[in-house]
Each structure stands twice: as C-alpha cells, then as structure tokens.
C-alpha cells in the first residue's frame, strides 16, 4: 500500500483549514487571552503598588519549595488544558470531516475524477478513517504542544521581568512526559473512536443529500421512539441494553478521551478525575491506566461495530457514484 501516504496527504490538502488552522486559531486565542491577562495583571499591580506598596523582594523571599511544586503541577495542568481545548475543536472538525468525506465529492461530481485513478475504494475509505484516527489528533497534539511552549516562554519572560526565577517551576513540571503520555493515548482513542468513524462514513457514503440529518436524527428518533414505547409499557430496550449509551458511542466516540467518562470504564474515570491539588497530574494519565481500557468489552464491541460499518461504507462507495443518479 505505497499509495497510502499520498492519500493521507490528499486529505490534508483538502482540509488544511480544519486540520491545521482550526487548532492554530484555538490555541492562539488562549495565548492572546494569556497576554491580555498579563496586561491586566500589570495594570492591577500598578494600582496596587500605589496603594499598598507591593514589594517583589517580599514575594521572592516568601516562595517555598511547596509553592514551586504546586506551580510545576499547575503548569502540567495548563499543558493538559491546551490539549483539552484544542481537542474540543478537534471533535467538531472530525465529526464534520467524516460526514462529508464520502459525500462532498459525490455532490460536486469530483468523485468521477477520483474514480478515474487506480485507487481501490477500500484504500479510499481506509485513508479517511486513518486520517480521523491518527493524522488529525497528531496535528492537534503538535499544535497544542507548540502553543504550550509559547505559553511557557511568555509567562517565564513576564515572571523574569519581575525578578523572579521561573526555572524551578518549569524544571519541576513534566512537559515531555506529558506529551509522551498524550501520544500513548492516541492508539486507544483511535480504537475507541472506530464506531463513530464507521457510523459517520457509512452515512456519508449512503445518502443522496443531508448526511447530518441521517447520521444524527436517526439515533435521536430511535431514542425518542424507544422511550415512548417504554412509557406505553410496550417492549423496548431498557436496563442492561442501554440504548442511549449505544447511540452515544456511535455519535460521540470521536471526542478525544471520551472513553474517560464512559459508563463502565471505571478505570479511566477514577484515574482521570484528579483534583487540582494532586501533585502528580502526569500519573493520572499513566499508560497502565489508559491501556486498561483494552480489557473492556465496550472497546472491542465498538471496534467490531466500527469495522463492519466501514466495510459497509466501502460497499456503498463502489455502488453510489453520483448523488443525482
């Protein structure tokens, strides 16, 4: 499959705006807010100086080792926040990317150009799934990490300008360990996302128009109908077979780290619900916890469902060429 890198590149060319520029703007906005915060702090400090005679010397003396550890832990949390906020953007970009991936080119007929090239439908569908599973999260992680480094520089310069040494706190934090743990999460997140990726690509390949309505309204209607049947006392899904949970898996599993809050995944939930005073944020993302997810049937049932839906998308891609015919 030596064409695969080129197929992934093609996806990037088409969706550069969503894959690259969306996270750049999102994290850029956080950096701008940081700068605004620094400026207002300066203004406030200036006022304070006039009123109470704020002394940096005093502040310097009062810093304890405990304070430094807390600051380092705070930095780790900030790094997570950068990745987290960029991931929220990633969810929306991924969702709409997948809905359009096998539909947009049928609508504008450019599918006839893609199909005039020696590329199998399986390779096409696989390239779109792999893009959502790996390419997009890797780009977002890289952008978020660079933005966090910019944040570090910004805050260090600011603190340094006031005669404080930022290095102990920075050296006490774990930027590299954090990035490695986030990278280690990627394969698990990718497997977890498969049912949603399959579901969205399936409808993208199936519909003649309005993929969003099919992919989203269908589950919602199913849910309401089920609840209605339940209210009438008629046979319906309830109890053990949790319909809302299943449909949620189909729609929202592309949310990065959404497995952390999933029902029945106590492993992830326990260890990710750290509080801000936890000295070791990094340990909450320990791969041994994250990979505990691989032992849950929820993950593997989802993987199987996702692969079946992807196989369906390939079959539809072979048959449904133009939306008008």
């Amino acid at each position: 499959m030596n064409k695969l890198p080129l197929l992934l590149k093609r996806e990037y060319w088409e969706h550069r705006g969503g894959f690259l520029w969306a996270p750049v703007w999102i994290t850029g906005a956080i950096l701008i807010l940081t700068v605004l915060g620094i400026i207002s702090a300066e203004v406030f400090r200036g006022n304070a100086h006039v009123q109470i005679g704020f002394s940096l010397d005093e502040l310097r003396r009062s810093i304890s080792a405990e304070d430094i550890a807390k600051a380092a832990n705070g930095l780790d949390i900030v790094q997570l926040v950068f990745a987290g906020i960029a991931s929220v953007g990633l969810f929306f970009v991924t969702f709409f990317y997948l809905l359009g991936a096998l539909y947009d080119d049928r609508r504008d007929r450019s599918v006839l150009f893609w199909k005039s090239l020696p590329i199998s439908d399986t390779a096409t569908v696989a390239s779109k799934a792999l893009t959502a599973m790996f390419v997009m999260p890797v780009i977002v992680l890289a952008v978020a990490t660079l933005a966090y480094l910019a944040f570090l520089v910004l805050v260090s310069v600011w603190i340094g300008a006031h005669g404080l040494n930022p290095l102990p706190a920075v050296l006490g934090s774990h930027p590299i360990g954090m990035v490695l743990r986030l990278i280690a999460m990627l394969p698990v997140s990718a497997l977890w996302a498969l049912p949603t990726i399959g579901w969205l690509l399936f409808w993208s390949a199936y519909v003649r128009s309005k993929p969003f309505l099919w992919a989203v309204l269908l589950p919602v209607v199913a849910l309401i109908a089920n609840a209605w049947l339940g209210a009438l006392g008629a046979p319906h899904f309830g109890g053990e077979l949790h319909l809302a949970g299943i449909l949620g898996r189909l729609l929202f599993s592309v949310m990065p780290a959404s497995w952390a809050g999933a029902d029945g995944i106590s492993v992830g939930r326990e260890h990710l619900s750290f509080n801000m005073n936890d000295d070791h944020v990094v340990s909450a993302l320990d791969p041994s916890h994250v990979y505990g997810l691989l032992a849950t049937p929820n993950l593997w049932i989802g993987v199987i469902a996702g692969l079946l839906l992807l196989a369906g998308a390939v079959m539809l891609r072979q048959r449904r060429v133009e939306t008008s015919v």
Partner: protein, 290 residues
Amino acid sequence: MSAQGTQPLIHARNLTKRYGATKALDGVSFDIEAGRIVGLIGPNGAGKTTALKAILGLTDFEGELSVLGFDPRKQRTELMEQVCFIADVAVLPRWIRVREAIEFVGGVHPRFSLEKCQAFLAHTKITSGMRVRELSKGMIVQLHLALVMAIDAKLLVLDEPTLGLDILYRKSFYESLLADYFDENKTIIVTTHQVEEVEHILTDLMFVRDGSIVLAASMDEVGDRYAEVMVNPDQTEAARALKPLNERQIFGKSIFLFDGVERSRLAALGELHKPSIADLFVATMKGTYA
C-alpha cells in the same frame, strides 16, 4: 470490425442496465478494436453515459463486458492503471492546487510522465500554485488534458469533454489530442453533442438510441454505405421510390439520404456527395423526441 483471432480491446455482449422501469441499456453488444477513435453519438438519455460508466466500472449492469481483458465490475483498480477518463469539465475538485493534482496523479499512476505534463502546461497560462476554482472552464479542461496526456494509457474515455467551452478551446482540445497523444497503441472513445467537431478525427461511429446501438460502422464503411444526392424536382418521385432515409429541401432542390443503394443508380438522379455525420445522425434519430 473485429480482426480474426485477436481479442478486441472492449468486448460487450448483451449489456443491460435498468433504472427502475426504464432501460438505459437494452441488450447492447459491440466490440472496439485497439488503435481506433470511436464516436459514441446519441440524443440525451440514449444511454451513452451509462455505457461509458459500465466500461469504467462506475455502474452495475447485466451482461458480459471485458475491457482490456478486465472485468470492470471486479477489477476497477487494475483497469484504471490502463484507462484514463475525462468527464465534462466540472469534475476536477475545485479546492485542489495544480501542483497537488500533478503530485497526486503522478503518485498513484504508474505510467505518469511529469515531463510530458509540464511540457503541456507550459503552453498554457496555468501555473502550479493556482487552485482549480480560480481557473476558467477552458483552463480546467487544459489541466485535465495535461494530466491525462502525461499518462501512457491504452484507453482514453471522453464524456462530453468540451461541453460549455468556447470554440478556441474546443479546437485546440481535439488538435492536442490528435497531435500529441493519439497513436496506434491507443484507443479513444468519445461522446459528444458537437458532432461536427469530432467528425474528421473519428475512425468509427456508433449511434445509440433508446439504449440500443442503431449504427456501428467504421468511417470508411459509412462512406461506402451512405450517400447524399441532390435531386432536381422532376426526379424526386424516382428518388423516393428508392426508399431514402431522409429528405430535405434546399434552394428548391431535394436532398435525399440513401443507405446501401448502388452508386450508379444514384448518380443518375443527380449530384452525389458524402453525407455529414450530423445529417446522418438527424436522419437516423428521426422521431426520437416526437
């Protein structure tokens, strides 16, 4: 048309394709030999595009079809290494940049020549940083042609390639195709409404009507079989007795189109000449929209 003992490039038997109750193709059979330029000509909705789609593996159908020895339904990927396809100008993705399109086609096509592609584009105003949506229709078709001509394919399928283009682009499209692309190892199938502009480049003709082939012949055979005679008013009854395909009036004279009537008998009626494909087409399709 078929030479003895050799497998034709395209071999179709009993092709049928239904869309609901209507048959877009109704048991069509034909062979196309290598090294030909075949015009697939018919009114709107006759089944031309469906036939092309079947050949390209873009639609399901009943019947037997082999293209370069491949079954387009099952071996589309292998087939497309040997086949190029230009539908009308709208199909290049609008977001793609010229250099990206070249890199992509070059990367997935084993028989792509970057030099040829760039040499062709050098004669145009297209530059590598442009996006398709910034190009005019004429430039888009130039770009598509540059991509396709750089591929050493055995079969080129053109579906209304010059639709919506002005006369300058249309002329240069077919001129480039003949001068820089076509040779005895290549085969071209073209559908078009602009019969006049392909007439002099075709080697074979296929008329399609209501999902059936109503005429399949080489241009030489067409020249032998069909003749137009300009008949003076006093001879028109004699001409009608020979069962002409068509009759029309110009400057007080009648022009009759005959199929397979002896030249000597026609010559006695008046001035003989070769019918244009457009006239032949109109005569053959009489009553299509009636």
